[in-house]
Structures are given as structure tokens and as C-alpha cells.
Amino acid sequence: MVGTAETLEQVQAVQDQKYKYGFITDIEMERAPRGLSEDTVRFISAKKGEPEWMLEWRLKAYRHWLTMEEPDWAKLGYPAIDYQDSYYYAAPKSKDDRPLSLDEVDPELIKTYEKLGIPLQEQKWLAGVAVDAVFDSVSVATTYKKKLEEKGIIFCSISEALRDHGDMVREYIGSVVPYSDNFFATLNSAVFTDGSFVYIPKGVRCPMELSTYFRINASETGQFERTLIIADEGSYVSYLEGCTAPQRDENQLHAAVVELVTLDDAEIKYSTVQNWYPGDENGKGGIYNFVTKRGACRGRNSKIAWTQVETGSAITWKYPSCILQGDNSVGEFYSVAITNNMQQADTGTKMIHIGKNTRSTIISKGISAGRANNTYRGLVKIMPKAENARNYTQCDSLLIGSKCGAHTVPYIEQRNPTAKIEHEATTAKISEDQLFYCKQRGLSEEDAVSIIVNGFCKEVMKELPMEFAVEAQKLIGISLEGSVG
């Protein structure tokens, strides 16, 4: 449980539309020199004591990145990002030596986590979540590792994994999202600083939800975490990712990469609740979120399900995808994207059907309020050998007010005649009738909007783990505060 009780209390305390995670922790930071160069890449790699091959891979990515153009096909507008005017590495200074237990963690950090409502304390094990908290770039504390180790599960920061399970990282990193994949993923490959690594051994069902809480703290640092999850044959894991960032006037760049691999009969359920600072109502500040998430269903009968609730960020550019390689493999994408004020989101998924009898489901719910723009962009691709592939896509948009926009851009590439593809799309507005009906029953306008929108998102919300769902429901209400009237 991601600090549900505390989080909810905090969430409920927010009544004035202020971004409640907008506090800044005052800890001395150690940074790489400003800007991006081979030296920056070398600095990061050296700081983390990485093996030589990792540095070479990073440098390859960096050199390739120099040849790339920032993509401009998304329906997003933002001022050019100056990649030389940012810090690419920031670590709390006292953390040269990795803390071995919670007692060794800087109390300031613990306080930050408490404000975020992250259950780092051991007793939270009862809630069934192991948390790998990424504070800016270094993974500060990983809990419950022992419990997991007993089952042979590896859950640690990617830096640790490079040190302790280097061969496995080497085998899989970049195998789903190659270093040359796209502008932002390539940038990440060069300068990624931390992230989580998960390995679930054959036949093991992970006994708890694994959770990472990402938080961007230092001013003007990009966050480039890299997550790699491998589910070996017949295994299962549910992974939760929550994100917040402090409130700042400048924009912060976030370019993460997540790679998932499922072997035969394995399943990964990856859930995200993203409430990064969205900027103020005039569009000042906020996170630029350019994320590449992709899963490969390599094995037969394997399954990857992405569930995301996106309420934050000034800019969201994100397409969690599935490569359905193994026969009978299943890909699912459930998404709620909320944009209010000046937020912009261009998000969706790609389902690439390669194997026989592969199935995919896409349920996307986009909500726009204020002057926000919300775009669903999705690709369903059926390759020639994907006999009997099936896809069902449903894209629903909900508009609140008359100054926002909703757009749906579905691409379908069909190269096997036995495949069946269904696409449904709707656009609706919250009606004055609905609002009045709710208010007449005693709900405030904001509660009314919240309950109507949560109803609209129900099919996605029910895919979230219970603890997360409660938090997400509240977040939906908060992010739409002041959107009607």
C-alpha cells in the first residue's frame, strides 16, 4: 500500500488547488557539471562505479543522440529545450556510501518520504509493498529486500544490479528499447542515473506489490531513470510506480525508459500513477515528461498489462507499448490521462502483434479541462505471421468546459487477413444536467465532477491495485479542482 492512509490525509488536506507536493528538501546535493558532453557521461558512469561495457554503451548512445533530431510529430507545443542548460546528475552528498538500512538514511530524506506518504518503515511490510525509492538520481533505500531474496526475487536499484547482477543487466538492457530507439530514449541511455531492476525467477509469484516512488527534487536537474523488469518463465509480478515532483517555476525534464520482458507463461502488471507538478494555471513551470515504456512478451502465453493514471506534468509524451512476440501472448493498455489548465498530453500505446493468436486490449480515457489539450495516439500493428491476432480498442474523451481539446489519432497496420481489429471512440461533455443532479443530492461541484469523472474512468480504475486505486481516485478529484464554473 503506497502510504495510502497518510497520502489520503494529505490529499484531503488540499483544498486550495495548491500542489501539495511542492515542498523542496534542503539537502546538500552533489551534481555533475552543468551541461551535456562525453565528460558528463563519463562522470555519471564513474560516480556509479559502472563496468566498462556500460560506459561504452552510454557513449555509443550519446554519440548517436548527437545525430538525432528532437521529434515534433506529437500534438504538443513547448519552447525548445536547451539540453546544455541542465544538470544531469544530482545525488544527495552524504550518499557516497550506500545506506544498508533505513537507519543510515538521512533523516531529511525520510521526512520527505513521509510528506509524500511513502511507507518506508518496516512495519509497512504488512501492507505488502516493497518500495525502491528513487530520490533524484540515486536509489536511497530499498526495503524488504530480504523477504524477496528468500524467493530469489531481485529488486534493487539499477546501479546495484549493474554491480551485483551485471551479466543479467547486460543481457537485457536495451533489448526492448535499443539505445538508438528515439531521441529521448537515446538521451536516457547516455545519462540515465538510476532506476529499478527486478528479476522474478521461474515459477515465482511475487508475494507483494513492488513499488518505486520517483521524485524530482533538485532544481534544474533532469531525471533519467531506467527500469528493467524481467519475469522468467511462469512468474508473475505487479509493479507500481508513483511520481511526484516539487513545485518550481522552471520546467524540468524527465526522460525515463522502462523495459519489461516476459518469458513463457509469465505476466507483468505495471501500474503508474503520475502526479508530477503540472505547472500553474498560466502554464508556468511543470515537468516535461518524455518517457519510453515498452514491454516484450517474448514467451508463449505471456502477458504484459500497462495501467496508467496520468494527472500531472506540463507535457506528457508517453506510449507504453507491447511487442507481442510469443504465440498467444497478451498485451493490455489501460489509461486515464487528465489535463487541466495549460497541460498537454500526447499519450497512447503501440501493440505490435508478431506471434500467432496474440491479443491486445486498449482502453483509453482522456479528460480535458481548462485550456488543456489531450491526444490519444495509438498504433495497432499486425505482422504477416500474426495469425488470428485480435485487438480491441476503445478511446473515450471527456471534455469539461469549452476551451479544451480532445484528439484521437489511431493508426492501424494490418498485414494478416485473419486478424480482427475493433476500434470504438466516443467524445462527451460533462452535462449541466449531471452536475445539477449531483448537486441536488448534496455533492459540492468539485465532488460532483470528481464522481462523474471517476465513473467515466471506471474501466481503467478497476485495473489498478486496490490501494493505488483509492489514491488515484482522490488525485482525479484534485487535479480537476476549479475546472468547472
Binding site: Y437, K439, Q440, G442, L443, N454
Partner: protein, 252 residues
């Protein structure tokens, strides 16, 4: 003190005058009926009482317990004890009936400084009320009014009223679209909610409903004014004579 006092109420919709000076006093524990032809202002009156946006009061006042409610938002009026059973109940996709009702109950509890009701407690409370109205568990799980038949929708309105226990309820054409069996169920539900503290204003076009929900007083609304008031026998007279004697109805 009267529970509800409507004094010289004038209201416009889109700048067009609809209510042109309504006076109505309702004592605790009484049921009043308002009858009138289409376009006489019946539904407008219900919306004005409930505080719907776009219905502007240009003169007069509405008092609850002697205090004006005109400055209150619709939700504040609801929490103060005012309930409107809608002529056309609204669909809210994806929101389970129970979730919706629980939110409404909790809004009242929150306003009263009481702790929120928990799910188990609530379900127990709900079951007691559903029996009376023949509302099934399945109907409770369904999204609010989505896929409900006309009769189910009206039963659902009365169920909400039973759960929210208002002090003053306006029933806007609750009989419309109901067959006689459904009408009886709804009327039984309403009658069970009559109490010495609670008052109701039953708005209807036809006398039929008033055979089942017998009013203490009947008023005739025509062209934005109450043009006649009397006992329940007035409804029967209307049934015989129609509204013709009360001026030309405006276009519906």
C-alpha cells in the same frame, strides 16, 4: 413556523418571465399538490426551489424555517434538507448507485461534522430502504439510472429520498411514464415517507397520482401564478373540467 414559505416569487429563464408571483406556505407534515397544464411553470418552480443555475429569481423570496435560501447553492439547499425527485432522472455512467448514494450521505455527514459512514454500515441501512420499493441489489450495483426502465428510474428517485431523509421534498411529475403497477409502488414508497416533520410538494399534470398520494392541499398553477387552491376535491374537479377554466396554457 411554516417549513416552506414562498412569497411573491418571480423567476425568469433566459430572460423570459415564467413565474409571475407565487405565494405558497407549507406547514410541517403536510403534502401539497400543484397541478397545471403544460407550460404553466410547474417544472420551473421545482428548479427554482432546488437552485438550478439559469433559473433566475427576479423578485420575491423562498424561506426554509423562516430563512431565505436564495443565496444558497443547490448542494447547500440539499444539505439543508431539500430534495427534488426529478421528472427525468439523469444518467451517470460508471458510478454505481450505491457509490452515488454513499457520497450523498457522506456529504451530509461531513456538513454536520460527523464521521463518514462505512461501507458495511451503509449497505445495511440501504437494504432496509430497498425492500419497501422493490429495488434489487442488482439495481444498486448498476450505474446511476443507466439502462433503467422508466419505472426503475422513478423508484430509484424515491429510494434516494428515503435514504437522504429530506425535510422538504419536491416530486416533479413522478407519475409521468409509469404504468399503474409502477405508480402504486412509487406511491407506496412516498406514503411510507410521510411523517409529521416532513413536507412534500407533489407536482403533477394528472389527478391519477393523487388517488394514491392523497394531498392535504391542491393548488392550480397557470401562466406562472397559483390561480386556485383547495382541498383534495379540487383535483377531482379538475379531472372533470380540465384546465380550460384557468386561462390559456402557454406553449409547452
Amino acid at each position: 413556523m411554516s417549513l416552506i414559505e414562498i412569497k411573491n416569487l418571480h423567476a425568469t429563464v433566459d430572460g423570459k418571465p415564467i413565474l409571475k408571483g407565487i405565494d405558497l406556505t407549507i406547514e410541517p407534515g403536510t403534502v401539497h399538490a400543484i397541478m397545471g397544464p403544460n407550460g404553466s411553470g410547474k417544472s420551473t418552480l421545482s428548479y427554482v426551489i432546488a437552485g438550478r443555475e439559469g433559473y433566475e429569481v427576479t423578485d420575491g423570496d423562498i424561506l426554509l424555517d423562516g430563512k431565505s435560501i436564495l443565496e444558497m447553492e443547490a448542494d447547500e439547499r440539499a444539505i439543508a434538507g431539500l430534495f427534488l425527485a426529478f421528472q427525468y432522472p439523469v444518467e451517470i455512467p460508471g458510478v454505481a448507485n450505491t457509490t452515488f448514494l454513499k457520497a450523498a450521505v457522506n456529504a451530509r455527514r461531513k456538513a454536520a461534522g460527523e464521521p463518514e459512514v462505512d461501507a458495511m454500515q451503509f449497505l445495511k441501512m440501504l437494504r432496509e430502504k430497498t425492500k419497501l420499493l422493490g429495488v434489487t441489489d442488482e439495481m444498486l450495483k448498476r450505474a446511476v439510472n443507466v439502462g433503467f426502465s422508466g419505472g426503475e428510474k422513478k423508484r430509484n428517485e424515491i429510494l434516494q429520498m428515503a435514504v437522504l431523509e429530506p425535510r422538504f421534498a419536491v416530486l416533479d411529475e413522478t407519475d409521468s411514464g409509469l404504468d399503474i403497477d409502477a405508480l402504486k409502488i412509487v406511491a407506496d414508497g412516498v406514503n411510507a415517507l410521510r411523517s409529521p416533520e416532513r413536507s412534500m410538494l407533489v407536482i403533477t399534470h394528472y389527478q391519477r397520482l393523487l388517488d394514491y398520494i392523497v394531498p392535504d392541499k391542491v393548488h392550480v398553477l397557470a401562466m406562472g401564478r397559483i390561480v386556485a387552491s383547495g382541498g383534495k376535491e379540487l383535483a377531482q374537479e379538475l379531472e372533470a373540467t380540465g384546465y380550460a377554466g384557468y386561462g390559456e396554457p402557454e406553449a409547452a
